[in-house]
């Protein structure tokens, strides 16, 4: 346990220390060697995370070997497997005055939690993080190997990001989660604004932070509501209580009563508490989801993500594709018990996810900026994840998160290589046919694109199919159809991009003679991630001797079993609600064949159109007119926000300032001038002649004496 605590503390500390060191000595001493510190910091954390993973795996194995976990036990929680690691008291919300402040009870603690979900996230974040840091050492240099301006700063902020992300996933209560949540927002802000002299980058950075803050506004209120309801912010206690309420059994609720009394105090009536929780749980879930929508850029808070592509490409790969934007998915998966307790919230999550998946895919069809296409694709894939969460397939969504991290990071890094080679140009109309001059980039990009498109046997095929399957099973098949249609769109826009950039006639961007591969530093991460894009999916399937997909593969493999303890109680609640979610993929193979066909169809169609008949798409675009314009302008969401929120608020601000200057100050001026006016009236009495004053004095004295002697009357 102590060992685990040390490991857990060191994981965020190592990147933090590397960041601080780069900040301290980077500019003077390390200069273009700064990356070594960050690479070793992130790499060290990865090693530590692997150790933790091994520890948790061995625990899982032991528990699986022990008595079968009963339904009731899993509902109460997976205390045996998860480990809450309190570090120190952070601050206090309300200590009982009778007990004095020195009791630890009322304090909000800095707490870590290590369980299966944490492990998955840590491994994903740190693996992709390490790859991106390695890639950046090549990317952030020019063709002669000289470091760009701000090289040290870039690596310092990467270290900060990895630290923040580790804090986020290691958090053991909502407060620490919020801290990590905001810190990744800060790192994202700083990294998007890396090229701060570009006004677009500066604007995009600010926009990202503020749109996130909009989500965090709801998130923070959700956290307060949790505190108000449960009197604690600790994950385990909150989840136990929620699970207790959801699984409430009117006939035998001694266990629940005991839980309430032990957590909230003896004077709380469990029945009242149950009613309170039931009335608030939907609000709590929706408010938490606000935060998730902001961070994971779900409609209608998606506007910041495409703009965030102004940041350096490795940043887009790491933060805006693989890790930070999936924090929302992580949040919902982490709070699966809370979401599962509210049907409305689940429905809402699924709807938002499906809507984002579809709309982002349609926008991606029309864009020409490679990074933006990928950004919309990220939105769309995140939409899938939320769709999966919303229909109760928590494990499938986390699985998709895991596979997505690899192929999407690979795609972004590939786009980065192209951008590097093309001298910063990323518009796919400006170049084509790069496959001969950039073979490594082309190969890895192609593999990842196939994965994204859902080509059979590659990673996203498995995970995406599980989500679509769960959507069909959800009792609301429209979600499933949206999933399928979006899959077709995904395949199409992905290969539109591949075909336009890499295939066809060889053509360089203006001013570029010859495309260069980025060298070993950049190629190694590409290859590694491409291997991940192929192989990551096999964590989530298992081999059967017959009857599975292609006769061999059956979904729900080791990955799902590993995650099982984390989401067991949520699954239990969902099945308790009557919506039957068969864990087995009975009859699901038909769907797998269908989606495989759809993916291949989309890929072939796009490849054919954009290599052999490039005029047809333009003709279609021209013919569809206003629809194409609508998509090309991203449904005008930015413009609507500007008109509906930004401008009125600024007008209100100007109004306030005007009130200050013209109204409040005017009143003050009037008030302040009352004595002045009185003085002005009395002024004529002051003649300035000494003798006049003397006469007045004497008259006054005489009058006084007369009054004293005779009285006023």
């Amino acid at each position: 346990m102590e060992n685990l605590k040390t490991l857990a503390i060191l994981i965020p500390i190592l990147p933090l220390v590397s960041m601080l060191l780069v900040g301290a000595i980077g500019l003077r001493i390390l200069k273009s060697r700064s990356h070594w510190l960050v690479i070793s910091g992130v790499g060290g954390s990865l090693v530590l995370a692997s150790l933790i993973l091994g520890d948790v795996l061995s625990h899982s194995a032991r528990d699986a070997g022990a008595a079968h976990v009963t339904e009731a036990e899993s509902a109460v929680g997976n205390a045996a497997l998860s480990k809450s690691i309190p570090l120190y008291d952070w601050f206090v919300v309300e200590a009982d005055p009778a007990q004095g402040a020195r009791e630890s009870a009322g304090w909000l603690q800095m707490t870590f939690r290590v369980d299966q979900l944490t492990c998955v996230m840590l491994m994903t974040v740190l693996t992709v993080g390490l790859m991106v840091v390695i890639y950046s050492t090549g990317y952030m240099r020019d063709h002669h190997g000289h470091a760009e301006r701000g090289y040290e700063r870039f690596f310092a902020f990467l270290g900060l990001f990895v630290f923040s992300m580790c804090m986020l996933v290691l958090a053991g209560n909502f407060l620490v989660l919020y801290m990590g949540w905001e810190l990744v927002g800060l790192s994202s802000f700083l990294l998007i604004g890396h090229y701060y002299q570009k006004p677009e980058a500066a604007k995009a950075a600010r926009k990202a932070f503020i749109v996130n803050r909009v989500g965090d506004f709801g998130f923070a209120i959700g956290i307060w509501l949790i505190y108000l309801t449960f009197g604690t912010l600790d994950y385990q206690r909150v989840f136990d209580l929620v699970a207790g309420v959801a699984n409430f059994d009117a006939h035998s609720h001694q266990a629940f009563d005991a839980l309430v009394h032990s957590t909230l105090g003896a004077n709380v009536n469990p029945m009242d508490f149950k009613i309170l929780v039931e009335s608030r749980i939907t609000w709590i879930a929706l408010l938490l989801f606000c935060g998730a929508m902001g961070k994971s850029a779900q409609f209608p808070l998606h506007v910041w993500l495409p703009d965030a592509m102004e940041g350096p490409t490795p940043v887009s790969a790491l933060i805006h594709a693989a890790t930070m934007v999936t924090a929302g998915v992580y949040l919902v998966a982490r709070c699966s018990v809370i979401f599962a307790s509210s049907e409305i919230a689940m429905w809402f999550v699924a709807t938002i996810g499906a809507a984002t998946a579809f709309f982002a895919a349609t926008i991606a069809l029309t864009q020409f900026d490679m990074k933006r296409i990928l950004a919309y694709s990220t939105l769309s894939q995140l939409g899938y994840m939320f769709l999966g969460l919303g229909v109760g397939a928590f494990d499938s969504s986390v699985f998709h998160l895991f596979t997505h991290a690899f192929f999407k990071a690979c795609l972004f890094l590939g786009a980065g290589s192209v951008m590097h080679a093309m001298g910063g140009v990323i518009d796919i109309r400006k170049f084509s046919g790069l496959r001969r001059q950039m073979p490594v980039t082309h190969a890895t990009f192609l593999i990842s694109s196939l994965a994204l498109a859902g080509f059979p046997l590659l990673s996203a095929f498995w995970s995406k199919d599980e989500i679509i399957h769960a959507a069909f099973e959800s009792g609301f098949p429209l979600f499933g159809w949206i999933g399928l249609i979006t899959a077709a769109l995904t395949a199409f826009y992905t290969f539109r991009m591949v075909a336009m950039a890499f295939w066809g006639q060889e053509r360089m961007a203006p001013g570029v003679e010859h495309a260069h591969e980025g060298g070993a530093w950049m190629n190694f991460p590409l290859i590694f991630l491409a291997v991940g894009a192929i192989g990551a999916g096999y964590f989530g399937v298992h081999m059967v001797s017959g009857g599975g997909f292609l006769g061999v593969f059956e979904p729900h493999g080791a990955f799902h079993h590993f995650l099982e303890p984390v989401i067991a109680s949520a699954k239990g609640i969902l099945s308790g609600h009557g919506a039957e979610h068969a864990v087995a993929h009975a009859g699901g193979h038909t769907l797998m064949y269908v989606s495989a066909l759809i993916a291949i169809g989309g890929i072939l169609l796009a490849s054919y159109l954009y290599t052999k008949r490039p005029t047809i798409p333009f003709a279609i675009a021209a013919a569809s007119g206003s629809l194409h314009r609508l998509l090309y302008n991203k449904y005008y969401v930015d413009e609507i926000y500007d008109a509906v929120f930004v401008q009125p608020l600024r007008r209100l601000g100007r109004f306030c300032f005007g009130v200050d200057r013209n109204f409040i100050n005017a009143i003050l001026y009037v008030l302040g001038n009352i004595p002045r006016a009185i003085g002005f009236g009395l002024r004529s009495g002051q003649q300035g002649a000494m003798q006049g004053y003397a006469l007045g004095m004497i008259i006054g004295i005489v009058a006084l004496i007369w009054i004293v002697l005779n009285g006023v009357g």
Partner: protein, 592 residues
């Protein structure tokens, strides 16, 4: 006989000021001397802190420590026994503020080394005088002494703004002085009335016309103040404190004063002088008039919420960096008051922490703005931009304190903001049979402040730091020996503040532990005051499941009820009548 540590603390800067006034040293020596004196003050404050921490174990009596009590004026006259005391002491509320004051004033003096080029002698002497007066406010345990120091802070700052300020300095200084003085006059009436009422309290030393806080605190518990009196007195003190805070709509002097004041003046004004108002609320208004505070709690909460949003929106449309930061103060101080009037421990703790945190982060922001101004002689965001290119160290600090100001978790602002909003959120919940006056309806609009805060601060950071480099035509002015980016002195000024910010954000536990024992009595009084009308009204509201009850019903219910209590007590015990001062028929009954 222990050392009179607090007297020494207050006397040190004042003696330093006298020395500077009395001798005619050359400017460089004066600077170094003033810095030395303020550093010494800091050291003494730290010694006081160490003493305080050494004695935390036996905290009692509201956690008051290092008490010095000397009779200042004592008259044994039969008619009106007068006992004015020079009484000092610190507790968990004043200690962090005291430390912050000493530290920031020292840094402000250090920051003035190049900024002030005229009248060195007067400038540094006034700053030291101001430091002494501010420390006096935080250490005073006697209402009159508190008031004297409270008012005395006006004089040095008036001159600081009026002499070393910007173009409109005279107007700003006059407005600042008259506005705050006008409010304080009403407060003074309240002070005198309280002193007179205090003569109804029988202490060990008998009854006397006194301003001793400990006696005044007994007024309410002994039933010495009726609800009507509390209302009037609350309003009288409100006049002084709300203008000082400044609470919407009494805030208009602040942007003007901030914009015109020299850097050190702005820093001290934002960091400390505004806190005198909030400190006054927590030291006087809440504990002495608890019933009025509860009944007016919703009004105060409303003003605070309006201030939060109003200040934030107004800050957003500014083009002058300094005015933007000034409006952000209006917004932030709204949080401070909100936390106070939610009547929960979380809110009170958060509020006091907020005072310190706002002092640190906004003080630092003003320092940075001053550093930019020294180099470019402008604060207009239209004229400067993209400075991160030329001043990376400044950019780092500006981003850092921006983040601190907008409540990034891990830095100081977050803890206090979170606590304040949490306190407001749970305010209406009934704990120990007591519910606070605020609730979700106040917390959610206030929470938009954290959103707007990010908007206007990042707007400022983007325009000043990011984008293409833009400098005024006359360019960078290095005539006073400044380098383009921050020099070592300036880094040395900002670094301690940054360290304090990180410390208070990551591990605020010790500070909170100092505060709790001092805040608990305040809360207990409020709780005691509300165990009656307010609670009943809340219970009714919850049974009706209505959203917001009329203030009138609840306060009326509470008023009648407590009036009954007070009435019963006063009838039963006529010795609780205050002494009669000018009466021709005084006799043994009044004297005792």
């Amino acid at each position: 006989m222990t050392m009179p540590l607090l007297s020494i603390l207050i006397a040190t800067p004042i003696c330093g000021a006298i020395v500077i006034f009395a001798t005619s040293l050359d400017p460089a020596t004066i600077r170094r001397f003033a810095l030395g004196v303020s550093l010494l003050t800091c050291v003494i404050a730290v010694v006081a802190l160490a003493t305080f921490m050494g004695q935390t174990a036996d905290l009692s009596n509201g956690g008051q420590l290092l008490v010095e009590n000397h009779t200042w004026v004592a008259s044994d006259a039969a008619v009106a026994p007068l006992r004015l005391s020079y009484k000092l002491g610190v507790d968990g509320i004043s200690l962090p503020l005291m430390l912050m004051t000493a530290m920031l004033t020292m840094l402000a003096i250090w920051a003035s080394f190049t900024a002030i080029q005229t009248r060195h002698r007067e400038y540094y002497a006034l700053l030291l005088l101001l430091l002494g007066a501010m420390l006096g406010v935080f250490c005073a345990r006697d209402l009159l002494l508190f008031y004297v120091c409270f008012e005395f802070t006006l004089i040095p700052l008036y001159f600081l703004i009026g002499i070393w300020g910007g173009a409109e300095r005279q107007k700003a200084a006059n407005m600042f002085f008259l506005y705050t003085l006008a409010g304080s006059m009403l407060t003074f009436a309240g002070v005198l009335y309280l002193g007179w009422k205090a003569s109804s309290v029988v202490t060990d030393a008998g009854r006397a016309f006194t301003f001793d806080f400990d006696v005044i605190y007994q007024l309410w518990s002994s039933g010495g103040l009726s609800v009507t009196e509390q209302w009037w007195l609350f309003l009288a003190f409100f006049a002084g404190f709300a203008i000082k805070v400044p609470l919407f709509p009494f805030h208009t002097w602040l942007p003007l004063a901030h914009v015109e004041a020299p850097t050190a003046g702005s820093v001290i004004l934002a960091a400390v002088l505004l806190k005198l108002g909030t400190y006054g609320f927590i030291r006087v208004s809440l504990p002495v008039f608890p019933q009025a505070a509860i009944q007016l709690g919703q009004v105060m909460g409303l003003l605070a919420v309006i201030g939060i949003i109003y200040g934030a929106l107004a800050a957003w449309v500014q083009t002058d960096v300094k005015r933007l930061v000034a409006y952000s103060s209006v917004s932030h101080l709204g949080f401070c008051l909100l936390g106070m009037f939610c009547m929960k421990m979380a809110g009170l703790t958060g509020s006091v922490l907020y005072m310190v945190n706002h002092g640190l982060s906004t003080g630092a922001l003003f320092l940075i703005v001053g550093m930019i101004y020294e180099r470019y002689h402008t604060r207009e965001m239209d004229q400067i931009g993209g400075l991160a290119r030329k001043m990376p160290i400044m950019a780092f600090f500006l981003i850092f304190f921006t983040m601190s100001s907008i409540g990034l978790p891990g830095l100081n602002g977050f803890v206090s903001e979170f606590l304040v909003l949490m306190g407001t959120f749970i305010s209406a919940r009934v704990d120990n049979d007591v519910a606070g006056p605020l609730g979700i309806g106040y917390a959610i609009p206030a929470a938009t402040g954290i959103l707007f805060g990010a908007i206007y601060m990042l707007y400022m950071a983007r325009r000043v730091l990011f984008g293409p480099l833009k400098e005024p035509e006359h360019g960078f002015d290095g005539s006073t020996g400044l380098s383009q980016d921050l020099n070592r002195r300036e880094v040395g000024i900002l670094t301690p503040i940054a360290i304090a910010c990180i410390f208070l954000g990551v591990y605020p536990k010790p500070v909170i532990e100092w505060m709790e024992p001092s805040l608990a009595p305040v809360l207990e009084r409020v709780a005691g005051a509300s165990s009656g009308g307010w609670q009943r009204a809340t219970a009714e509201r919850e049974s009706e499941a209505g959203e917001t009850p009329g203030v009138a019903t609840s306060s009326a219910a509470s008023e009648t009820l407590s009036a009954e209590i007070v009435g019963a007590e006063t009838q039963g015990a006529d010795e609780s009548e205050p002494l009669v001062l000018y009466s021709t028929s005084f006799d043994s009954e009044a004297l005792r």
